[in-house]
Symmetry: C2
Subunit: 325 residues, 2 copies
C-alpha cells in the first residue's frame, strides 16, 4: 500500500503496516474471483488516511488495547471499501487505484453482493472493537448518515439552483461523516475523555469536508491522469460540485446553456465548462472554502492536549490538505 504519506509519523506507519495483513484477512471472501478483485483493491493502495486518523486520535486515550484498536481501524476501512465497490458499480468506473474494479471483472451482480458482504465484514469488526451497545450504535448512525448523503444527491441532480449549502450538506454525508467517525472512534476506543471524542468528531468533519472539496477542485485543475473520476458523466447526470456551483453564481448566463444539455453534453462542451469554471474564479473560491475548513480543523487541533500526537495531527492535516508551510 501507498503508506509514504505516513513516513514522518513512524508510530502510525508501524500500526498501519501491521493493519494491512489484518485487513486483507478481515476482507477475505470465499469466492475466488470476487476475492481476487477485493484483495487487489486493498493491495493497490489507499493511503489508509481514515485508519491513520483513527490511530492518531487513539493516541489521545490511555487505553492502548492493540486488538480492539486494530478491529476499530479495520472497521473504518472496510466500511470505506464497501461504499467504494457500490460507487464503482453505480459510476461503471473501469478502474480504481490503478486496478480493475470489482464489477468489471465479476459483473454488477457479484459486485453489489460483494459490497453487501463487506458491510457485514465491517460489522464483524465493529463487534470486535465495541465495548458497549452505544459503540455499535455510533457506527450504524454514521453509516446511515453516509447513505443519506448519497441519497440526498438524488434530490439535487439537475437542479440548476443547487446551492453551496446543499452541496456542503451532501459532502457532509458522502465524505465527512466517515472521517468524523474514524477520528471519534479512535479517541473513543482508546478511552479518551469525552470532550476529546467530541472534538475529534468535529476535526474529522472539517478535514473530511476540506478533503472532498479539494478532490472536487482537482477535477477541474488536475492533469488528465490525475483525474480519478470522469466528471463529464457527473455533469451529464446533474451532479455539480463546488467549483462549478461558484462559477454558476458568478456567470449563470454563460454556463446554464451548457448544463441544460444534460445527457447530451459532449467532451467538447465539457472542456468549455472546465475553462469557464477555472477562469471565473470558481476554483479559487472553492479553494478558499477548503482553506477555511482546514483552518477550523487546525484551530480545533490546537485546543487538544499538547502531546506528540497533536503535533503529528497538525502536520498531517496541513500536508493532506496541501497547506504545507
Amino acid at each position: 500500500m501507498a503508506l509514504q504519506i505516513w513516513d514522518d509519523f513512524p508510530t502510525i506507519q508501524t500500526k498501519l503496516t501491521a493493519l494491512t495483513p489484518y485487513l486483507i484477512e478481515a476482507a477475505r471472501i470465499k469466492q475466488p474471483a470476487v476475492n481476487e478483485r477485493v484483495q487487489s483493491l486493498l493491495r493497490h493502495g489507499g493511503k489508509l488516511i481514515r485508519a491513520g486518523l483513527f490511530y492518531l486520535f487513539s493516541e489521545f486515550g490511555p487505553d492502548q488495547n492493540e486488538e480492539r484498536l486494530q478491529a476499530g481501524a479495520a472497521a473504518i476501512e472496510l466500511l470505506h471499501l464497501a461504499t467504494l465497490i457500490h460507487d464503482d458499480v453505480i459510476d461503471q468506473a473501469p478502474e480504481r487505484r490503478g486496478t480493475q474494479t470489482v464489477h468489471t471483472r465479476v459483473g454488477n451482480r457479484n459486485a453489489i453482493y460483494a459490497g453487501d458482504l463487506l458491510f457485514t465484514l465491517y460489522f464483524d469488526q465493529v463487534l470486535k472493537s465495541a465495548e458497549t451497545f452505544n459503540d455499535i450504535a455510533v457506527n450504524t448512525h454514521a453509516m446511515h448518515g453516509i447513505l443519506d448523503g448519497e441519497l440526498d444527491q438524488y434530490d439535487l441532480n439537475y437542479h440548476l439552483k443547487e446551492t453551496v449549502d446543499q452541496y456542503l450538506k451532501e459532502i457532509e454525508g458522502k465524505t465527512a461523516k466517515l472521517f468524523a467517525l474514524a477520528c471519534a472512534q479512535g479517541a473513543k476506543l482508546a478511552h479518551a475523555d469525552m470532550i476529546i471524542v467530541e472534538s475529534a468528531e468535529q476535526i474529522g468533519r472539517s478535514i473530511g469536508l476540506a478533503f472532498q472539496i479539494l478532490d472536487d477542485v482537482l477535477d477541474y485543475t488536475g492533469e488528465q491522469q490525475d483525474i480519478r473520476k470522469p466528471i463529464l458523466q457527473d455533469i451529464q447526470q446533474g451532479i455539480y460540485t463546488l467549483p462549478l456551483l461558484f462559477a454558476l453564481e458568478a456567470q449563470p448566463e454563460k454556463l446554464r446553456p451548457y448544463l441544460k444539455r444534460g445527457i447530451q453534453l459532449t467532451e467538447t462542451d465539457l472542456q468549455t465548462i472546465q475553462a469557464l469554471v477555472t477562469k471565473s474564479d470558481g476554483v479559487a473560491q472553492a479553494r478558499t472554502m477548503a482553506n477555511e475548513l482546514t483552518d477550523q480543523a487546525l484551530l480545533d487541533i490546537k485546543m487538544l492536549p499538547e502531546t506528540p500526537a497533536r503535533q503529528a495531527l497538525e502536520t498531517l492535516t496541513r500536508r493532506l490538505l496541501q497547506r504545507e508551510q
Copy 2:
C-alpha cells in the same frame, strides 16, 4: 398487507398487524421519492412469513417483552427487504408484489443506496432487540451466509455439471439462512431453552429449503401470471434450479443443446425446455425433495414441547408448503 394466511392463527395475526405500522416507521427514508417506493413495497404485500415464524417460535419462550420481540421481527423483515431491493436491481425486475420496483422509479443508483440504507435500518432494529453481543453476532453471521449463497451462484453459472448438492448449498444461503435466523431469533429473544433455539434453527432451515424448491417448481408449472420471475433470463445466465437439474440428469442429450445456447436462448427454446422438464419427471422429483424436507421439519416440530404454538406451527408448515391434509 396480505395477512390472510394468518387468519387461523389469531395471536400471530394480531402481532403482525401491530408490526406493520412499526415496520413502516422503521423503514422510513428521508428522501421522498425513494421512501415512496420502499413504503409501497411494504404496503403491497408480503405475507410476513418470516416475521410470523419469528413470532410463532417466540411463543416457546417465557419472556414476552413486546418491544424487544417487535424489534426482532422487524429486523428480519428489513433484512429481507434490503436483499429484495438489490435483487431487483440485479435482475432489472420491473415489478415486485404488483408494484413498481425501487430502481424502476428512482434509478439503479438510488436503489443500490436504498438497499444499503435498509441494511443499516436492519442493524438498528437488531441493536434494539439484542441483549448481548452474541445476539448481534448471530445476525451478522446469518447475513454473511445469505450473501455467501448469492456469491456462490456465480461459480455455478454456466456449469452444466452443477449438481443437486450444489443447488441445495446455494439455496441454503439464499433462502434457508433467513428462515433459520427468523425461527432461532424468535425463540432466543423470548429466552426459550437453548435446545429449542437450536431446533428452531433446523426447522427454519428445512422450511426455507422446501419453500425455495417449491418456488422454483412454480416457474415450470405455474400459470403465466403466477410466475414471479422471468426464468428465461435465469437460464440464459446459467442459473439452473432443481427441476431443470433433475431433468438434466435424466435426459442430458435432449436438454444440453438448448442450455448451451446461453444468452442466445429464445422464448421458444424456453417453452421446449419447460416441456422437457415437466415431462421428464424433473418437476415431480423436485416436489418429492421438497416433501422430504417438509417431513423433516414436521418431525422436528413434533419434538418441541406440546403447546398451542406447536400445533399452530405444524398447521402453518403444512399450509405454507402445500401439504394440506
